[in-house]
């Protein structure tokens, strides 16, 4: 456990140190590449507020998408006709780039929270749906025969076999979606927003405030990493019987 934290910390520190040294020695102008020290100096209350806005949008959208997608997956597996009819539509929506849809969301939902949350939902929904459908079908035929010999109902089969069996698949999808959630929120903010990291990135790049831009990028990365690790931590406790990840 200790070395798992130690090694990346040391590596990260070294990268920053080299970066700092190069910028100072080569005298690179701040608008091109600011030194880490300058970026850290740019971390202020505004940045924290913008980070919080983006993080909350991403989190709400992520949670809604997770619940919706898992619910849909259960319906798809329960009623195959539904899957046959709706899955191609789902794939069509999935292949539409979120960047292309985001302006439409702003027209429909305004520049407030909802256009971002919906962008997050759109981007997070499919990995969870696809993996959950796969996971709900993953229990071996032999397990289903066992449940048949025990006289289990369809709903018992779902509750006691398919859903727990699906959890490792669900968590690996949630990990993918967690980083996508931040992307969705920032794309939504690019198109039309008055706050959030996406807004901060647009404004600071327009003003050539590269240090602020870097700080915003770092904050976005931090938000993604945090979500990823929180889910990983939860996964280890919920799916304790399953070691190793699926895709």
């Amino acid at each position: 456990m200790k070395s798992r934290v130690q090694a990346p910390l040391i590596a990260g520190f070294l990268v920053l140190a080299v970066w700092q040294a190069v910028v100072m020695m080569a005298d690179i102008p701040e608008y091109l590449l600011p030194a880490p020290s300058v970026i850290f100096a740019n971390v202020d209350r505004t940045l924290v507020v913008q980070l919080a806005v983006t993080f909350v949008e991403a989190l709400i959208g992520f949670l809604i998408a997770g619940v919706l997608a898992f619910g849909c997956a259960i319906m798809f597996v329960r009623f195959t006709a539904l899957e046959e009819g709706l899955f191609p539509i789902a794939i069509a929506v999935k292949t539409t780039p979120i960047v292309a849809v985001a302006p439409l969301l702003v027209i429909w939902l305004g520049t407030g929270w909802w256009s971002k949350i919906v962008a997050v939902i759109l981007i997070c929904f499919f990995p969870v749906l696809v993996n959950a459908v796969k996971g709900l079908k993953a229990a071996d035929a032999e397990y289903r025969e066992l449940f048949q010999t025990l006289g289990a109902t369809r709903s018992q089969e779902f509750r006691k076999l398919r859903i727990p069996y699906c959890l490792p698949y669900l968590f690996s999808a949630l990990k993918i979606s967690s980083s996508l959630a931040i992307v969705g929120a920032i794309v939504g903010e690019f198109v039309g927003a008055t706050q959030g990291l996406g807004y901060l990135i647009m404004v600071s790049s327009a003003h050539l405030e590269t240090a602020t831009l870097f700080a915003a990028i770092a904050a976005a990365a931090l938000a993604g990493i945090t979500m990823f690790y929180v889910i990983g931590w939860t996964e280890e406790r919920v799916v304790f019987w399953h070691s190793g990840s699926l895709e």
């Binding site: 071996d140 010999t149 109902t153 019987w241």
Partner: protein, 264 residues
């Protein structure tokens, strides 16, 4: 004893069969165009341990599943003489739920029977008794991944027994285990069957091992592959416990081997 007297004895004993409990009558099972079981007739008597012996993929597992009502019959019928007969099933794989402890895995059939109701303490203590019976009393809170293959199969046996079955259907129950573990578990199965600690009286076991069939069972039904047809129904009246190395079981094993090689 030479082969001729043995054969006479085998024929003589077929006359005194116990009352039939399960009758297979003109059974045919097909999967789409493939006939898995063709015109099969035999009965299993109350209190018998019957082995269904045949090569892999000959349809013997399908036959067992047909008896458990897991596959539809194309024609013929399977009659259970006692409508209240309770049937337990055990698969080749343990099929334990990895997120459940040993105790909770054994309680799964009880939970399913109860529907939404809560498992009460009597069921809990019954599950504990079953686990003691399969020598796993000390592993009640262990998870499947913490148990060896043999131990997992013991849990599966306890789970098959908790419903208090009269008849146990076993599909190569210890076939995936190493020979040492398999011998021990086979002995335990016989011990539990003979002990009278449970209601269990009749066992139908699928196997592809001739020595296992002969050492375990009262009767060996030899099947050929595809579709499964009965080629011989052999009584094994040797005293228990038996080993394949003893002369009487040894002779029967030889006889079955010759029969199978003969390609009848």
């Amino acid at each position: 004893m030479n082969a001729i007297t043995l054969a006479t004895r085998l024929e003589a004993t077929t006359l005194s069969r116990p009352e039939p409990l399960v009758s297979i009558e003109n059974l045919q099972v097909r999967f789409d165009d493939v006939v898995a079981i063709e015109n099969l007739n035999f009965t299993v008597g109350r209190g018998e341990f019957v082995s269904l012996l045949g090569p892999s993929g000959c349809g013997k597992s399908t036959l067992l599943k047909a008896i458990a009502r897991l596959v539809p019959l194309a024609s013929g019928k399977i009659v259970l003489r006692d409508p209240n007969l309770r049937v337990g099933f055990m698969f080749q794989k343990p099929l334990l739920l990895p997120w459940r402890t040993t105790l909770d895995n054994v309680l799964l059939p009880v939970e399913i029977q109860l529907g939404g109701n809560v498992v009460d303490p009597t069921d809990q203590s019954r599950a504990r008794r079953m686990l003691n019976m399969v020598q796993l009393g000390d592993f009640i809170d262990a998870y499947p991944h913490q148990l060896s293959g043999g131990m997992q199969q013991r849990v599966a046996l306890a789970r098959a027994l908790i419903g208090n079955p009269d008849v146990l259907l076993l599909d190569e129950p210890f076939g995936a285990l190493d020979e040492f573990t398999r011998d021990v578990l086979n002995e335990e199965l016989i011990r539990i069957w003979q002990s009278g600690d449970t209601r269990l009286h009749t066992i139908i076991m699928v196997t592809h091992s001739i020595p296992e069939a002969v050492t375990m069972s009262d009767r060996v039904i030899v099947l050929t592959g595809r579709p499964a047809r009965l080629i011989e129904d052999i009584d094994v009246h040797c005293s228990r416990p038996r080993t394949p190395e003893e002369s009487e079981p040894g002779l029967i094993i030889k006889r079955i081997r010759a029969m199978v090689r003969g390609g009848r």
